[in-house]
Symmetry: C2
Subunit: 333 residues, 2 copies
DNA sequence: TTGTATGCGTTATCAG
DNA sequence: CTGATAACGCATACAA
């Protein structure tokens, strides 16, 4: 042990009676070299490494190799099942390639630079920016510091970064239009944090196209959690002019609306139609099941593969992946 | 730009016409040196850095300084509001000290080593292991590789790692006993993933102390998501011998029980008492509000401070923090 | 006040 | 088949 108790490669080398170069070769150097296996010494090294509990040092390794074998998922709390799903699909694919995945929470935009240091100064080989953030953050620094960048965004267009288009705006317009066509008169909009501009605009688009005005009293900013959102919807329902439909920016808000309706004895979908966003798996199981705008089914494989393709070869032309959102009809609307 | 487009300190030095040492001094070296400020050149360096978009390189810096200014929160999906809360409290305190926080998801225990490489081989200055994981993972490697380790666990006892005791087992026993004393006959237990052994044991303890047997039919492993849990509870309620009380390992499960009861027209708490675990903020807002076992209020400040104290001085004696769980009475039981 | 030299732990290159 | 040796990018002690 050299300094602070951490076992270094030199410790292993001394214990095994060989050079550090040899240790590095047998321990980390892929056996892809011409020489197959130096059987006799190999075991000595491996034993020594195990005995000393050698774990390697990522900082040194990635400094030398210019690779960290790490990818990051950048997200804005609160967390969601959607994020969970994305994370585990990433992890599965990453694990198969020897990569690990970390999450990078960005809570406050004014502090984003600090949170993103892992990306901008660190050595993350690739990063995925989830929906809201892709549009609110300046990704130039991140792009220069990583081999690959993937962003969920319908507007972003940046050389060298792959992007996932969700056509959120048109999808929410479609959902709203569906409600209009079904004869709903007072369609409320339940937003999340106020930043998901695109989704809200889809709602506005549909109203305008139908020659209606946006009623500010029907547009509510829900809180982060489901139970908080319930309060908001209850308030709506208790008001003088309750809505006969709710479009929510998230499934979470959709469930909240269902729950608030149940609390107040409002029948869904007869008295209140509810449409969520995200099309999470839970939408199928709620009572009643939740009509939801979103990907028909969650599958990020293609996206993650594309990320790794670019990690392997950053000169690849920027791709534009389509993961279209559709209106998934269920019982609530 | 030296190699692949990343601006290095040398680039800045050349552009500014000074040495790298000087650049390092003005850009990163805390001005704690005796000399206050070399005003004239300083600006030149800073300008050059900005112009070239210099961002530094964590790998090199932490290799040299033996510090990464990074702390990790290790968790097992699914994510929860609890985790969100912990994360942002960490982030607040961390930001004030120039640190960033990352999340490390550990989905599969058999792949934990891979996921934890960031901790064991990487340069994370400190790590927080959240409840379930603290007991299922071998933390020795992690301890040797970080300056500070904090674990939520009632059983763990490891030199050099600080630990948060929650007395989960006795707390869940207390909750169950409360139900027994209230005359509940068939108390179901809704578990999460089957691994939260301690919580379940609390339930068992209480039953045994009351001279009752555990009815396997009343112990259900709920799914990860809320809507899945609803299905489980509905099934219970539809069974031949429905429970008159539910103890859930999480608030999520508690909400699910409330919802299932509403679906089935079962009155809470008259026909069915419900107690959740975690005492999340949402428990106050549900309808009816959810009685929940957990910290009276979520406040991780002391814990995070302790983590940083150990980062500053790893030789500190291991601390044992108490964040006692109590039964928070509300309308559902 | 600024520059030179050295090393952090690892891997890649190239001799022996 | 193994071992010197030289970087990777940065920060510090020390010399100028």
């Amino acid at each position: 042990m050299t300094r602070e108790g951490r076992t270094t490669l030199r410790d292993v080398a001394e214990a095994a009676g060989v050079s550090v170069a040899t240790c590095s070769y047998v321990l980390s150097g892929r056996a892809d070299r011409t020489t197959p296996l130096p059987e006799p010494t190999r075991k000595r090294v491996e034993d020594a490494a195990r005995r000393l509990g050698y774990k390697g040092n990522t900082a040194a390794r990635s400094l030398r190799r210019q690779r960290s074998e790490l990818i990051a998922i950048v997200y804005a709390p609160p967390v969601s099942p959607w994020l969970d799903h994305l994370t585990w699909e990433c992890e599965d694919i990453a694990a198969a390639r020897g990569y690990s995945v970390i999450g990078v929470p960005v809570r406050r935009l004014d502090r984003a630079a600090q949170s993103l240091r892992v990306i901008t100064r660190g050595h993350v080989d690739g990063a995925i920016f989830t929906p809201v953030l892709s549009d609110d953050l300046d990704l130039t620094a991140a792009r220069r510091s990583t081999r690959a960048l993937m962003a969920f965004s319908d507007s972003l267009r940046m050389p060298g970064v792959d992007v996932v288009r969700n056509n959120v705006r048109t999808a929410l317009a479609e959902a709203t239009t569906y409600l209009i066509d079904a004869g709903r008169e007072r369609i409320a909009y339940l937003s999340h944090t106020g930043v998901q501009e695109d989704r809200y605009l889809g709602y506005v688009d549909a109203l305008e196209q139908a020659g209606r005005e946006v009623d500010p009293a029907l547009v509510r900013v829900g809180a982060a959690s489901r139970e908080d959102a319930v309060l908001v919807v209850r308030e709506l329902l208790d008001g003088p002019n309750p809505p006969d439909a709710v479009v929510s920016e998230s499934d979470r808000g959709g469930f909240a609306a269902l729950q608030a309706a149940a609390d107040r004895g409002v029948k869904v979908p007869d008295d209140l139609a509810v449409i969520g966003t995200g099309n999470t798996r839970e939408a199928t199981n709620s009572m009643p099941s939740l009509t939801s705008v979103g990907m028909h089914q969650l599958d990020f494989t293609e996206m993650v593969e594309a990320l790794f393709a670019r990690i392997d070869d950053p000169t690849l032309p920027a791709r534009e992946l389509l993961m279209p959102w559709v209106l998934n009809h269920r019982a609530s609307a």
